[in-house]
C-alpha cells in the first residue's frame, strides 16, 4: 500500500534542491532578471562544493576531520562559485545590457560544462576505476540528522541541516519580499525599473545584489544534492534537469517562496511517485509521472495569463534591460 511515511521524506529530499533553485530564481526574477542560467549555476554550486570537500578530504585523514571545516569549506566554495556565476550574468545583462535569454542559456551551457568537466577531472585525479567521486566522509557531516525513530522523526527530523536551511531561507525570502523596505524596493525594480529609478532606488545595485544572492542560494541546491541526497557521490549529469524544474517551480508558485516550500515537496513527490504507485510491469508510466511537474506548470502559466489578474503576473519588466534614457 501507499506508504506515506517513507514517501514523504523522499519527496522532501527530491524537493530541497528545487526549493533552493526556485527561491534563488524568485529573488532574481523579482529584480527583473530572467536568469535561465540557474541550471548551470546549480551545477557550479554543486561541483565547487565537491572540489572544496575533495581537497579537504585529500589533505586530512577522515579521523582528523573537523566538523566545522568539513562543512564550512564546501559551503564556502559552493557559495563563491555560484556568486561568480551570478556576477558574470549581471556583468553581461545589467552592465553590458545583453539579451537575458541568450546570456542565461550560455551560462547554463558553461555551468553544466564546468560541473561535468571538473567532476570528470577529479575522478582522474583520484585514479580510481569508478566513474564517480565519493566523498562519504564529508557527506556524513552534511547528512547528519537527529535520527529520531517513529513516523514523526522519519517525516520531519530525518534530514541534513541543509534541508532545514532551505526552508528557513525560503520563508525568510518570503518575509523579506513582503515585509521589508528593501524587499519592497526590489519588487519595484522588477515591476517598473523606471519608476524605481525615479524614486531614487539604485536599480543597478538592486539587480546585481538580487541576482548574485539568488545565484548563491540556487548554488546551495546543487551542494545539497551532491552532499546530502547523493551521499557525496558526484556523477556527471546526475543532477539532470532539476535546474529547469526549479524554474518551472517559480512559475508554479507564482513567484512566492513560501508556497515554494510545499510546492517543491509536491514536485519532488511527482519525481518519485512512480516508485510508490504500483504500476505492475509497466515501467513506462513512471516517465509520464515525471512529466507532471511540467504539465501543471504549463497549466498554471496558461491560467495566469488567461486570468489577467495583476497580482499573479510575472514581474512586469522581466527580461528587459533597463537604462535611463539620456537626452
Amino acid at each position: 500500500m501507499f506508504d506515506l511515511a517513507s514517501f514523504l521524506p523522499r519527496a522532501v529530499m527530491q524537493g530541497i534542491p528545487l526549493l533552493y533553485g526556485s527561491t534563488g530564481e524568485i529573488l532574481t526574477e523579482k529584480s527583473g532578471n530572467l536568469n535561465l542560467g540557474i541550471p548551470g549555476v546549480m551545477y557550479v554550486g554543486g561541483i565547487c562544493g565537491v572540489i572544496g570537500a575533495f581537497f579537504y578530504e585529500q589533505s586530512t585523514p577522515a579521523a582528523d576531520m573537523n566538523a566545522f571545516l568539513a562543512i564550512g569549506i564546501p559551503m564556502l566554495c559552493s557559495l563563491l562559485g555560484s556568486l561568480l556565476m551570478g556576477l558574470l550574468y549581471c556583468l553581461l545583462t545589467v552592465t553590458l545590457r545583453a539579451n537575458q535569454n541568450v546570456t542565461g542559456l550560455a551560462l547554463t551551457t558553461f555551468g553544466v560544462g564546468i560541473g561535468n568537466f571538473f567532476g570528470g577531472s577529479l575522478i582522474k585525479l583520484t585514479d580510481s576505476e569508478v566513474p564517480s567521486i565519493a566523498l562519504s566522509a564529508t557527506s556524513a557531516y552534511f547528512s547528519k540528522s537527529l535520527n529520531v525513530g517513529g513516523w514523526f522523526g522519519q517525516v520531519f527530523l530525518s534530514y541534513g541541516f541543509l534541508a532545514y536551511l532551505a526552508i528557513v531561507i525560503a520563508l525568510f525570502a518570503s518575509y523579506f519580499l513582503k515585509h521589508t523596505r528593501t524587499g519592497l524596493h526590489l519588487r519595484a525594480v522588477g515591476e517598473s525599473a523606471a519608476t524605481a529609478d525615479a524614486a531614487g532606488i539604485n536599480v543597478t545595485k538592486y539587480k546585481y545584489l538580487a541576482t548574485c544572492i539568488g545565484s548563491m542560494i540556487a548554488g546551495l541546491g546543487g551542494l545539497y544534492y551532491v552532499m546530502d541526497y547523493a551521499c557525496g557521490v558526484w556523477s556527471n549529469n546526475a543532477f539532470g534537469d532539476r535546474g529547469w524544474l526549479a524554474i518551472a517551480l517559480v512559475i508554479f508558485t507564482i513567484w512566492r517562496p513560501n508556497v515554494s516550500v510545499l510546492a517543491s515537496i509536491l514536485f519532488g513527490g511527482f519525481y518519485i511517485l512512480y516508485i510508490f504507485i504500483p504500476t505492475g510491469t509497466n515501467l513506462a508510466i513512471k516517465e509520464l509521472y515525471k512529466m507532471l511537474p511540467y504539465v501543471v506548470t504549463l497549466v498554471v502559466l496558461i491560467i495566469v495569463s488567461l486570468r489577467k489578474k495583476r497580482e499573479v503576473q510575472p514581474p512586469a519588466s522581466l527580461g528587459l534591460s533597463y537604462f535611463r534614457e539620456e537626452r
Binding site: 517598473s192 524614486a199 531614487g200 497580482e311
Partner: protein, 502 residues
C-alpha cells in the same frame, strides 16, 4: 531661478530665464507646447541640470543634481506621466525609495492623515491598477507631501481630469496654499490659470515673456502674451478649387483603454482640394481622431463616411481596419505623429519602408522589390533625402530626412485623403517649407489634406479651414483666411461645456 539656460544639442529649450516663487502662493506657468515649461520645471526637480544659471531657495544658492536633492530642498514635482508601480498599493508607492524600517500600517496612518488634512480622497491600501486617473494623480501628490515638500510643481495636472475632478484638485491646491505651501502649476488652459493662481508667468519658445498678477489679467491679455504677435511666414496658399466633400465625420466618440473619453461627439467635414487644419493643445484628441479615421483606433460610436472622387457610392469607414479600407478601394494616406514607431520601420532602408504600403501587391509569395526600389530612388532624388543609399536604415537618418521619406511615400500612394500629424515637428525651416509645399501641391491636385499642427502661425497661413479641438470636442471651425491667432487661441482653451458653434 536666475538666468537659467538649458540646451539639448543645438536646441535652446530655456534661454536665460528668471523666475520667482513666493511662499504661500500659486504660480501658473503658462505657455504653448514646446515653450519650455516642463524643461524648466525638470531642472527644479533635479531631472535635468541647467547648463547655465543658478537656483536659489530662501535666498541660498543650491545645487539640484538629482530628484533626491530636490526632495531634500523640499521640492516635489508631479509629472504628467505618473511614476507609479501598478501592482503596489497607494501607501507602498508613496513610501517607495524612502529609508528606515518598513511599517506599512504606520505609513498608511500617516497617508490617511495627509489625506484628511488637505481633503484628498484615496484609500491608502488600494492598488494603483484599480484607481482612476485622478486617484493616481492624488497618490502622486500625496507622495510628494509625505516627503515633506513645501514647493510643489504640477505638470499639466488637469489634462487628464474631468471638470469636476479639476475643481476638486483646485480646492485642494487652495488648502495647501493656506497651509503655507508654494505651488507651481503648468498649464495652457487660461480659465484654469484665472481660476486658481495668484500670479502668472508666461514662457514663449524658451524665453521668459513676463509675469502678471492674476487679478490684473484676463483671457485676452494672457493669450496675447502666450502666442505673441503674428509672424508672417510667407507660405504660399493658392485659392482652393473644385472643393467637394470627401470625408464626413459625424458624432465620432472614442475611449482609450483606461476608459477615458478621448473623442467626444466630433463632427466636421473634410473637403477635397482644401487643407483642413486641426488645432488644439496637445492631447485634445488629435491623435485619436486621425487614428480613428484610419481604422487604427477603436471607435465607440459615430460615422466616418467617404465620398469617392468619381462620384461613386459613399462608404462607411468605421469598423474597417487599414487593410480593409485599402481593399475597398479607398486610398487614404496617413503620416502619423510617431514616425519611427508607427509610420516607418526604423531598421529598414528607404526601399523596405516603401514596401510598407505595397508589400501585399503582386501575386505569389515573393515581394516586389523593383517598384519600391524605384519609388525610393524617386523620393531620394525629388525630395533631396540625405542618405548614403536606399538600404540605409531610416532610424539613423536625421529627423527631417525621416519625415521626407514618410511624407514622400504617403504622397506617392496618390491618395484621395492625406492626413498628417505634426508633420513638421522637430524639422528645420527648409524641410518644413518642403513639407508645406508638398501638402499644398496635393491640395491643388484635388486631394483632401488634413494638417494637424501645433504652430498657430503655420496653421493660419497654410490651411483653408481650421477645426479647433478642445478636450476631445470640436470647439470651433473657422476660416483660416478670416480668423486670427487670438480667436483660435481662445477656442483652443475654451471652457469645457461652453458653446459649441459649428
Amino acid at each position: 531661478m536666475e538666468n537659467v539656460t538649458k540646451r539639448f544639442g543645438k536646441v535652446v529649450a530655456n534661454n536665460a530665464i528668471n523666475l520667482e516663487l513666493h511662499e504661500g502662493e500659486i504660480l501658473s506657468l503658462l505657455g504653448e507646447n514646446g515653450s519650455g515649461k516642463t524643461t524648466l520645471m525638470n531642472m527644479l526637480s533635479g531631472i535635468y541640470f541647467p547648463d547655465e544659471g543658478q537656483i536659489y531657495i530662501h535666498g541660498e544658492p543650491v545645487t539640484i543634481a538629482s530628484p533626491k536633492d530636490a526632495f531634500e530642498h523640499g521640492i516635489g514635482m508631479i509629472h504628467q506621466h505618473f511614476k507609479l508601480v501598478d501592482l503596489f498599493t497607494a501607501t507602498e508607492n508613496i513610501i517607495l525609495g524612502l529609508e528606515g524600517k518598513l511599517d506599512i500600517a504606520e505609513a498608511s496612518k500617516k497617508v490617511k492623515e495627509i489625506c484628511d488634512k488637505y481633503g484628498f480622497d484615496i484609500d491608502p491600501n488600494q492598488k494603483i491598477y484599480d484607481m482612476s486617473v485622478s486617484q493616481k494623480q492624488t497618490v502622486e501628490i500625496v507622495k510628494v507631501l509625505y516627503r515633506g515638500a513645501d514647493i510643489l510643481i504640477l505638470d499639466e495636472p488637469t489634462a487628464v481630469l474631468t471638470p469636476q475632478e479639476t475643481d476638486k484638485l483646485f480646492a485642494i491646491m487652495r488648502n495647501m496654499k493656506a497651509d503655507g505651501k508654494s505651488l507651481i502649476i503648468i498649464t495652457h488652459k487660461l480659465h484654469e490659470v484665472l481660476d486658481v493662481s495668484d500670479r502668472v508667468a508666461v514662457l514663449r519658445k524658451g524665453e521668459y515673456v513676463g509675469d502678471v498678477a492674476t487679478k490684473d489679467a484676463d483671457q485676452q491679455s494672457l493669450t496675447d502674451m502666450m502666442v505673441g504677435h503674428t509672424v508672417s511666414l510667407n507660405i504660399s496658399r493658392p485659392e482652393p478649387k473644385d472643393v467637394e466633400k470627401r470625408l464626413v465625420i459625424e458624432g465620432l466618440t472614442a475611449y482609450d483603454e483606461l476608459g477615458v473619453k478621448r473623442l467626444d461627439d466630433v463632427s466636421f467635414t473634410i473637403n477635397a482640394g482644401e487643407v483642413l487644419g486641426i488645432a488644439g493643445v496637445a492631447g485634445s484628441g488629435q491623435r485619436e481622431l486621425l487614428e480613428s479615421i484610419a481604422g487604427l483606433y477603436p471607435v465607440a460610436s459615430g460615422h466616418v463616411t467617404f465620398y469617392p472622387p468619381d462620384g461613386g457610392k459613399e462608404k462607411e469607414l468605421v469598423g474597417l481596419d487599414p487593410m480593409k479600407i485599402r481593399k475597398s478601394g479607398i486610398s487614404m494616406s496617413f503620416v502619423p505623429e510617431d514616425r519611427l514607431g508607427m509610420g516607418l520601420v526604423g531598421s529598414m532602408g528607404m526601399t523596405g519602408n516603401m514596401m510598407l504600403r505595397s508589400w501585399r501587391k503582386g501575386k505569389g509569395l515573393f515581394l516586389n522589390r523593383k517598384d519600391p526600389e524605384a519609388l525610393a530612388n524617386r523620393i531620394w532624388e525629388e525630395l533631396g533625402v540625405v542618405t548614403p543609399s536606399t538600404s540605409f536604415p531610416v532610424r539613423r537618418m536625421s529627423g527631417g530626412n525621416v519625415q521626407k521619406v514618410l511624407v514622400g511615400r504617403e504622397i506617392a500612394q496618390s491618395p484621395a485623403v492625406l492626413m498628417t500629424a505634426y508633420a513638421v515637428r522637430g524639422l528645420d525651416i527648409n524641410t518644413s517649407y518642403t513639407i508645406y509645399n508638398l501638402l499644398t501641391e496635393q491640395k491643388m491636385r484635388g486631394v483632401a489634406v488634413v494638417y494637424v499642427g501645433e504652430d498657430l502661425d503655420v496653421l493660419l497661413e497654410l490651411c483653408d479651414r481650421i477645426v479647433v479641438l478642445c478636450g476631445g470636442q470640436v470647439s470651433g471651425v473657422v476660416d483660416a483666411r478670416k480668423t486670427n491667432k487670438r480667436e483660435v487661441g481662445a477656442l483652443m482653451t475654451l471652457v469645457r461645456g461652453g458653446n459649441k458653434d459649428e
